[in-house]
Assembly symmetry: C2
Homo-oligomer: 317 residues x 2
């Protein structure tokens, strides 16, 4: 067993999750615990969930025989937007937290439970990108985007081997041409508003498909349903277009894609890659589009990477 | 007079320009010289223009009394795309140069004229961003985009105080929604294909405006011509949209805009800023949109910055 654990905390729109993660990215399953979040909760209730998970993971660690002095830091990945300098968050899906001083809430609990170790506090998309770079399918790639297709579309950016902190990586907020979705954050034409899981399902329903969930759409695709096949191809084209815009702007080598809705079709990643490969600029068309490869452990592994790879992080911004 | 000069070379679609630039960004006018490029020239003719400018600037420097050993490096900014590792360029507007080993051409001449000093070789948009950060209106801004609106739309990116090299900053190649232009690099819906100088003029002509140049469009705007006013507002909205996409993806503080067509209306920069200020995400709406402030000296100042600020450059990529 390692003597260098990170307490990793992932805070999202539906849940908080925490666990100890070792310095090779392995999650210690016996320490894993979670609590609910959600848009209906008050700021204090959300804080309580976070503190419960901090305590729960540390209590389970003690029960599992982990020495307290082998926990070398706390890494937090949280839904954005974030203001790293102020230590505040304003997550889109948690309206009760607006410019909420979450870093101070966690720091206060950390001071009681783990005095003296550092606290790293960044956005969840940054964590996911760093996880793919650290222990995922994009291992060691110096210039990359890690991307999630789920209820929303987000991600993080690594350039020249260093993660870009702050809000960088919100790829779902770039505009796309040729499609219109439901209103989201003031626009019907951002990648997220036309191609997220819910918006893709809504598009399929608008074409006469009778289902209501991403799982049903995946099943319909597997069964060869015409609308589902067109929905997947539309999704691939739109994500491909967004990837091309980002790749033209950033000059990257790899886009690593994860998230639940990225599994709506077994070949979705290949379809996205086929669109990117047709781009007329060589440095865009040669970008490799791959599965991130970490499944549900990416957010925790990435939060732990904030501790274990602290030298890859620039100053907060 | 400084004892630390850079030989700065800017290589674009219509001309090569060169001059000595001191370590505070001042261009030594007596050393400035230029030669033509252009899409009709052969690869060898283009090389000859570059070598002529290298020789011309150095000969003028000697005539002006600059000691050869006070020239501490050669900085080159060149139209992209670029492959920095290979030292090759494939400029969109100079088709005779495709994967052309330009770095070796310049290195060979440098070895004869300035043996022993370093050669820094990057894209022109990177130079322009670095110039704005070094001695322009975005002085000292750690997270920014430097952007040019001209025959094309391009730029460069600085994150965490370090310039992003390679092809990063090609903001004209991101897709925009709600407009269609003329075909450019395989798309009618990139920012460049809907909002460059020529495409904006073409849009105005399509609305019945009789002129043919950007200068005429600027004059028509100044005279209150209805189509010209709408053309400027359309340009501001589209550039504003592109800036929002880039700012959402990168989390920057400033966009510094220059280039000849950015002066088509005295208030164009303010109009772009007004669009950005309406974005629903706080970290996007607070981005400051400013004039780059270096006019025509930005490309040479930026090429010199590759030498004088070499510590801000990551490894070639």
């Amino acid at each position: 067993m390692t003597d260098r654990w990170a307490l990793a905390i992932d805070i999202g729109g539906t849940k908080v999750e925490g666990a100890l993660v070792d310095d090779r990215g392995a999650v210690l399953g016996a320490t894993r615990c979670r609590a609910g979040t959600g848009g209906e909760r008050s700021a204090a209730e959300l804080d309580t969930s976070v503190v419960q998970v901090v305590d729960g993971a540390l209590d389970r660690a003690a029960a599992a025989g982990v020495a307290e002095d082998s926990i070398v830091g706390v890494g937090v990945g949280v839904a954005g937007p974030i203001d790293e300098r102020a230590g505040t968050v304003s997550p889109i899906n948690l309206p009760a937290w607006h410019e909420h001083p979450l870093r101070a809430v966690i720091a206060a609990r950390k001071a009681e439970r783990l005095p003296g170790v550092p606290l790293e506090f960044h956005r969840d998309g940054v964590a996911i990108a760093l996880a793919a770079h650290w222990v995922g399918a994009a291992h060691g790639v110096a210039n990359m985007i890690g991307m999630v297709i789920s209820t929303g579309i987000g991600g993080g950016i690594i350039l020249d081997g260093r993660v870009v902190t702050g809000n960088a990586g919100h790829i779902g907020q770039i505009e796309v041409s040729g499609a219109t979705g439901e209103l989201s954050l003031g626009s019907r034409t951002t990648l997220e508003s036309v191609a997220s899981g819910p918006h893709t399902v809504a598009w399929a329903r608008g074409q006469g498909w009778p289902g209501t969930t991403g799982e049903e759409l995946a099943a319909a695709f597997a069964a060869g349903d015409d609308v589902a096949v067109r929905a997947v191809e539309r999704l691939a084209a739109l994500v491909g277009q967004g990837v091309c815009s980002a790749a033209a702007l950033l000059d990257i080598e790899v886009v690593a894609i994860g998230g639940g809705f990225s599994r709506v079709a077994p070949d979705l990643i290949d379809r996205i890659g086929a669109h990117v490969a047709r781009h007329p600029l060589d440095y865009v068309s040669r970008v490799r589009v791959i599965e991130a490869g970490l499944e549900d452990e990416a957010p925790l592994a990435g939060a732990a990477a904030f501790v274990h790879l602290a030298d890859r992080l620039p100053a907060a911004r």
